[in-house]
């Protein structure tokens, strides 16, 4: 326990120090240019789609080698440059005062900046994304947090939120809510042996009621659809720090597939920070197209939207494995899809008693 705690603290310190160093380095480089009467320039990795590359080795999207140069000597860019400097200084203040702010808060704070205000939230966020990409750091390291809460966790996990100790089995039926600031939370104690992440909250509550966490020694994570950044950070930490395998249980349709895939291989949009988010070892357990056939699940017909999406996924490099290609092809052939809750056909407990044990290889 204390070993984990130290590790978390150390990791956090390292990240904060790295952010501090990077910010100071930016300031020094700019001053150096000014003293040499050179217009300060900044190389910012390009986040355009042309520069987003699927890295076969790490199995997630990364940024390529392209970058844009932002020059304070360009009339078009000098204001943006000043805004970036303001955002950097704002980040420095946050780190020094050990505060966290949301992107929305920064957007409003910028009203008072010398280079502000921003036209819209998007422009404001862009500055943080530029800093993240330039420094290779997460926005959380820069003192900025996402808006929304993460999902819920239920299971034998005890966390320490700066002195507040929470047992995820005693946090109510809803479980422990992953906060946006999950990186500051110490994963103090864990008796679980695996994580089962569930797409829908309906199935999450079913598993909690059926005591699946106990039965499978698992942390049950409710994703609430597309996983929030905080949830993904939690899954990544559970895998890396606690050494737990991650199992993903989603609807048997292209959207369920992709919810799982974003956890596994990251999104293209966040390619610059996927090394902090993606969990390439996470495993999709279902619902697969084969499950639809094998379990004779009640189905819906694939809509045009589903078919188009499946065809897109076929070409997506992240799905370029035998397993995925096979499942996508099969689903297209079936012309059918099925929800997680379709297992209720066989009774409410069926998914816990039969399906998951089979999928997790726990069937005795």
């Amino acid at each position: 326990m204390s070993r984990v705690k130290k590790k978390v603290r150390a990791r956090d310190r390292v990240h904060k120090r790295r952010a501090d160093e990077k910010l100071a380095g930016l300031g020094k480089a700019v001053i150096e240019d000014i003293l040499h009467t050179r217009p300060p320039k900044l190389k910012i990795p390009s986040r355009s789609t042309a520069n987003i590359i699927y890295d076969e080795t790490s199995r997630y999207f990364v940024l390529g080698s392209r970058y844009g140069v932002r020059s304070a000597g360009s009339m078009k860019q000098v204001k943006k440059f000043a805004q970036l400097m303001c955002a950097a200084d704002f980040s420095k203040e946050l780190i020094e005062s050990k505060k966290l702010a949301t992107l929305r808060e920064m957007y409003y704070t910028a009203e008072g900046w010398d280079a502000g205000p921003f036209r819209d939230q998007g422009e404001s966020d862009g500055n943080i994304e530029d800093l993240e990409a330039t420094f290779g750091l997460k926005r959380e390291d820069l003192g900025l947090t996402p808006e929304e809460d993460g999902a819920a966790v239920y299971g034998r996990l005890v966390v320490n939120e700066e002195g507040v100790v929470i047992d995820a089995t005693k946090a109510g039926r809803g479980g422990y809510t992953i906060p946006p600031t999950i990186d500051d939370v110490e994963l103090a104690r864990c008796k679980a042996k695996r994580v089962i992440a569930i797409e829908t909250m309906g199935m999450y509550h079913r598993l909690v009621q059926e005591k699946a966490w106990k039965k499978f020694d698992a942390l049950i994570v409710g994703l609430k659809g597309q996983a929030a950044r905080a949830t993904r950070r939690f899954l990544k930490r559970a895998h890396e720090e606690l050494g737990l395998p991650i199992h993903l249980f989603c609807d048997g349709d292209p959207f369920g597939f992709h919810i799982a895939m974003v956890i596994i291989s990251g999104s293209a949009k966040l390619a610059y920070i996927n090394h902090e988010l993606a969990v390439p070892d996470a495993q999709f357990i279902g619902v697969t197209a084969s499950d639809i056939v094998d379990y004779k699940l009640p189905t819906d017909k694939l809509r045009e939207l589903d078919v188009n999406r499946l065809k897109q996924l076929q070409k997506d490099p992240r799905y370029n494995t035998e397993f995925w290609q096979g499942e996508i092809k099969k689903m297209l052939e079936l012309g059918k899809k099925a929800e997680q809750q379709a297992f209720s056909k066989y009774g409410l407990s069926y998914v816990v008693k039969e399906y998951l044990p089979a999928k997790l290889g726990l069937k005795g």
């Binding site: 910010l23 100071a24 930016l26 300031g27 000014i34 304070a72 000597g73 440059f81 000043a82 400097m85």
Partner: protein, 525 residues
């Protein structure tokens, strides 16, 4: 081919003067309440300028319009010059005899109307108000003559009344015309704009103007040189037609065709004449009086096959680019002005003409003076203002049917960076010729002769090109200022924030600021 003037003469002989005037009032410019008043001013001022120029003095003209008895349409127009004055015995002829001093049979570039001139004003005043015109004049001999002049309509003679002689050292002429049924307005068609345009086109003239409400305007002269007077000149073969040649042949003193062509036509030597006659198959020794229509036609076409020197410009008196600019600068005080005077060209009748144009941007340019009533003036930025001139005389009316207007409108102004509906722009065009082809006897618009139209268009495009250069330069300078402003705003922020991030002192931003704002678009990507 009879000219309009010849028609007028004929009519004049057949009818009484007053009848003639009433019948032709519109042609003579006495139509409409505003225009009539402008015409009175025009005739007086034209006379004054011509008199001063002929005397070789810089014209200094005083114009006043006074309201009589608070009546809305009853005015007195006073015009005073500093010319040589008029000897007593000439007063009846100058002011009382219509068509007395006509120069119309000569091919001379003249400012005035049909020679009806100031006597028309006397007539107009007499008809509308019943009052004589008061003339005060002195040749500078210490004797000042004051007389009332009326026109004896039956005899077409001036009648001098109440003549008085006063002692005084002064030289010049002052004319006071009283007229009714006229309105004073500060519109494009009113006397104010007429005088303003006159001042622009005649930078050697000094005009003082007092409006009915007492408002005083002085149009200062911008040069001290009296322009040369125009001279009569012969026809040039380039544009000559068969009937012109026949008319000339009937009156020439030349005894042979060769000497006829060489004496009556411009730029034709005896040798050239012989060449042309040989080409056309007409005998060199033929008597001009026996010239036939067919032979005339051959000669006209033969002239097109020989080389000739361009028509003489001795009779043409353009204002000149420098003086157009002087006039524009003096009156409009623009940010930018440019003018050009092109080389002489010739059109249909073998008559040379010159087109000159000036352009003014910013300042008082493009601001036409408009008002609903006297005194109540509103300056409107109405976009491009076109001011037209023929032989320096302002063309104020009939703008729509004028070759100057259509040629100026024919240009795609956007190509020159100009939005004609909004730009603070005055375009000046002067057509100079001994024989300007007016569309009507009102002499307020120029006919669309193809050669003249094209020449106006080319000339206006010349000045528009210069304007474009100015406008683009202006845009560049503005951009440079904006550019400097942007850097002055944001570079210090960058420096301040960098110092805060690095935890050091703020670096001096001035050298970089100077470098970045001084260098044009070097860093632009």
């Amino acid at each position: 081919m009879k000219t309009m003037a010849e028609e007028l003469f004929k009519e004049f002989r057949e009818h009484s003067v007053s009848e003639f005037f009433r019948k032709n009032a519109a042609m003579l410019g006495y139509t409409g309440k505003i225009r009539s008043l402008t015409t009175v001013v025009h005739e007086g001022v034209t006379n004054a300028i011509d008199a001063a120029e002929e005397a070789g003095v810089l014209p200094k003209i005083f114009v006043a319009i006074k309201r009589i008895n608070e009546e809305p349409e009853h005015f007195k127009v006073v015009i005073e010059d500093n010319a040589s004055g008029i000897p007593e015995e000439y007063i009846p002829n100058v002011f009382g005899k219509m068509l007395a001093g006509t120069k119309l049979h000569r091919h001379v570039q003249s400012r005035g109307q049909q020679g009806i001139g100031v006597s028309g004003s006397v007539m107009f005043g007499q008809i509308t108000s019943g009052k004589p015109t008061t003339v005060i004049t002195s040749t500078g001999n210490g004797e000042i003559i004051r007389a009332d002049v009326m026109i004896d309509v039956n005899r077409n003679e001036g009648k001098v009344m109440n003549a008085k002689k006063l002692k005084g050292k002064w030289r010049g002429t002052r004319v006071e015309v009283e007229a009714k049924d006229v309105t004073y307005m500060r519109s494009r068609y009113g006397p104010f704009n007429y005088l303003r345009m006159t001042a622009i086109a005649n930078p050697h003239i000094h005009i003082t103007f007092v409006e009915p409400d007492g408002k005083l305007t002085i149009f200062e002269h911008a040069t001290n040189e009296v322009p040369e007077r125009p001279k009569p000149m012969p026809l040039h073969p380039w544009g000559i037609m068969s009937d012109d040649l026949l008319v000339l042949a009937k009156h020439t003193k030349g005894r042979t065709m060769a000497s006829f062509l060489a004496t009556e036509l411009s730029r034709v030597s005896k040798r050239k004449a012989k060449d042309v006659l040989n080409l056309s198959g007409v005998k060199v020794n033929k008597k001009p009086a026996e010239l036939t229509w067919e032979e005339a036609e051959h000669i006209v076409s033969a002239f097109k096959q020989v080389k000739l020197i361009a028509p003489p410009t001795s009779g043409l008196r353009p204002i000149g680019a420098a003086d157009i600019k002087n006039g524009i600068r003096q009156i409009l005080r623009p940010e930018f002005t440019y003018a050009t005077t092109r080389s002489p060209k010739v059109y249909r009748g073998g008559l040379p003409f010159i087109v000159e144009a000036g352009i003014a941007y910013g300042g008082g340019a493009g601001k036409t003076v408009e008002g609903k009533d006297e005194g109540e003036e509103i300056e409107i930025e109405a976009g491009m203002e076109l001011i037209r001139f023929a032989n320096r005389a302002p063309l104020i009316f009939d703008q729509g049917g004028c070759a100057i207007t259509s040629a100026a409108r024919n240009i795609d102004w956007r190509r020159y960076g100009v939005d004609v509906s909004a730009a603070p722009l005055t375009l000046f065009v002067n057509v100079v010729s001994a024989y300007v082809p007016y569309t009507s006897a009102g002499k307020q618009s120029i006919a669309e002769e193809p050669e003249i139209f094209d020449e106006i268009r080319s000339t206006v495009m010349d000045v528009a090109r210069e304007l474009r250069r100015f406008i683009y330069r202006k845009i560049r300078v503005k951009e440079q200022h904006e550019r400097a402003g942007v850097f002055e705003q944001y570079l210090p922020v960058i420096a301040r924030k960098a110092a805060s991030l690095a935890g050091t002192k703020q670096p001096d931003i001035k050298p970089l600021l100077k470098k970045v704002t001084g260098v044009e678009s070097e860093e632009e990507s």
